[in-house]
Structure formats: structure tokens, C-alpha cells
């Protein structure tokens, strides 16, 4: 069996990649994809620790996080579509104004 540490390290690397991508990309949709990546690395940590402790509660929490992610994506993409109708752009630099 692979030790828990390796899984945590993998999750850390995935999280870092997601964070770097979030800061580097200028397209709203790609930034959103990076958020999903970070969310998934957090899920991986929970599942890895669930096995380390032999406790199913963390897995149940991951299930709830999955539901939450679905709701988040629905709202987030709705916001992106609504902004796109107003500005005809998905570049964050064009969306810096606070006044609609």
C-alpha cells in the first residue's frame, strides 16, 4: 500500500499548479477550470486521510463537496454568460470596472 504522504504530496502539487494557473491565465473560463483543479486536490487530501484513519466521514464530506462544486459551476458559468452578454469578452482585464 502506498503511504498517505505520497497522496498528500500529489495533492499539494496539483493545488500549486491550479493556483499558478489561476494567477497566470487571463481568460475567466480557464481561471474557473483552475479553481476546479484546486477543489479536486482538496478532495484527494480528504480521501487520503479517510483511509489513514479508517473513517468514512471524510468520504461523505467529499460527496457533499462534489454536490457543492456542481452548484458552484452552475452559478459561476451563469455569471460568466451574463457578463459576456454585457461586455462580449471573457478576458478578466476587460472586466475590471465595478459599474455595470
Amino acid at each position: 500500500m502506498v503511504e498517505t504522504s505520497y497522496y498528500i504530496a500529489l495533492a499539494g502539487i496539483l493545488f500549486s499548479i491550479g493556483a499558478v494557473g489561476f494567477l497566470m491565465r487571463r481568460s475567466v473560463i480557464q481561471m474557473f477550470l483552475c479553481v476546479e483543479l484546486m477543489l479536486n486536490s482538496a478532495n484527494l487530501v480528504l480521501v487520503a486521510f479517510a483511509r489513514a484513519w479508517g473513517n468514512l466521514e471524510a468520504q461523505t464530506a467529499v460527496f457533499i463537496i462534489l454536490t457543492l462544486a456542481a452548484a458552484e459551476v452552475a452559478i459561476g458559468l451563469g455569471i460568466i454568460v451574463a457578463i459576456f452578454r454585457k461586455r462580449v469578452s471573457t478576458n478578466v482585464d476587460d472586466l475590471s470596472g465595478l459599474k455595470g
Partner: protein, 187 residues
């Protein structure tokens, strides 16, 4: 160990693809690869139910929604504008490498609380039955809260993308039309 190394390489490659492709469709498909690799890793972590849910909900439903929106908005390609912060990328990459190193280092400080084989046995393979039992006993309140959240999300998403009602157009009723003489009616 070989399986883990292969799967993690696949996951990392997918993640790098997600952030490096210029085309958003390629990015989304790379993320699907990462999610599928993570689903396989979940199987090796005794979480079979979560692995299947990951494939169905994440790689299936959520990523399809992403691709749908990318193609709907025709947003595959980034705009050709000049980068307003040219110094940002090197700083961010350096920060990311430091963050990854720190997190990986911290991970190896972790001491297992009990023997792994013994703990893994208690999970019963993470089958739907045991997970569902936890969900409907200890996690009943979060479960209900999430159902409320989903309702709010659905209503919110519909409200966000709803178009403004168009200005009311004055339409001629049939009775008004009938009062016109045939010469007046414009064909």
C-alpha cells in the same frame, strides 16, 4: 506503487495541460484527464463510490457544462491584447514551485495514526452502502442543507442568464384588423 506513479504522472500532466493550453477547449479536456486519473486514484484509496461519482458528476456533467459554455460563448481563443502585467508570470511560477515544495515537504512530515492495512479495512472499500449510511445519519443536516443549496443554485442560475424582457411592442388585434378596409391593409 507503479500504479500510483503512473496515475499521478497522468494527473499532473493533465493539470499542466489545463493551465498551459491557450485553447480553452483543450484546457477543459486536459482537466477531464486529470479528473479521470483522480477517479482511478480514489479506487486505490478504497473509495469506489466516490470514484464512480467523480466520473459521472465531475468528468461527465460538470465538464460537459464547461465545454458547452466555452462553445456557446465562442471563447476558445484568448484575446490578442498585450499582457498588462508582464512580470507576473515568472513571479507566479516561482511562487507556485515554492508552494508545491512546501506542501510536499509538509506531507512527508505526516505520521500515520494507525497501521494502514488495518485502517483501510474499516472503510469496507468505500462502497455506496457504508457511505450512504454515514450520509443519512451523521451527515443528515449537511445533506438537507445541500439540497437547499442546489435549489438556490438552480434558481440563481436561471435568474442570472434570463434576458431582460423586451420593450412591449404594440400589436394589432384581430378586431382592429377587421375594421380596416381592404385598401388599407398593407400586404
Amino acid at each position: 506503487m507503479i500504479v500510483f506513479v503512473l496515475l499521478s504522472l497522468l494527473a499532473i500532466a493533465g493539470a499542466l495541460g489545463t493551465i498551459l493550453w491557450k485553447n480553452a477547449v483543450y484546457s477543459a479536456l486536459s482537466l477531464v484527464g486529470t479528473l479521470l486519473a483522480l477517479a482511478c486514484i480514489f479506487v486505490t484509496l478504497e473509495a469506489q463510490f466516490l470514484a464512480s461519482v467523480q466520473v459521472i458528476v465531475y468528468a461527465g456533467a460538470i465538464m460537459v457544462l464547461f465545454l458547452f459554455v466555452i462553445m456557446l460563448l465562442n471563447a476558445q481563443y484568448p484575446s490578442e491584447d498585450v499582457d498588462p502585467l508582464p512580470w507576473l508570470s515568472p513571479v507566479v511560477i516561482a511562487g507556485g514551485v515554492v508552494l508545491a515544495g512546501a506542501l510536499a515537504y509538509t506531507a512527508f512530515l505526516y505520521k500515520a495514526p494507525k497501521p494502514l492495512a488495518e485502517a483501510a479495512k474499516a472503510l469496507q472499500g468505500g462502497a455506496p452502502g457504508p457511505v450512504g449510511e454515514t450520509l443519512f445519519t451523521k451527515f443528515l443536516l449537511p445533506f438537507e442543507a445541500v439540497s437547499l443549496l442546489l435549489i438556490i443554485a438552480v434558481v440563481g442560475a436561471v435568474a442570472l442568464v434570463k434576458r431582460e424582457p423586451e420593450a412591449k411592442v404594440q400589436r394589432e388585434t384581430l378586431e382592429e384588423r377587421a375594421t380596416h378596409t381592404p385598401e388599407e391593409v398593407v400586404v
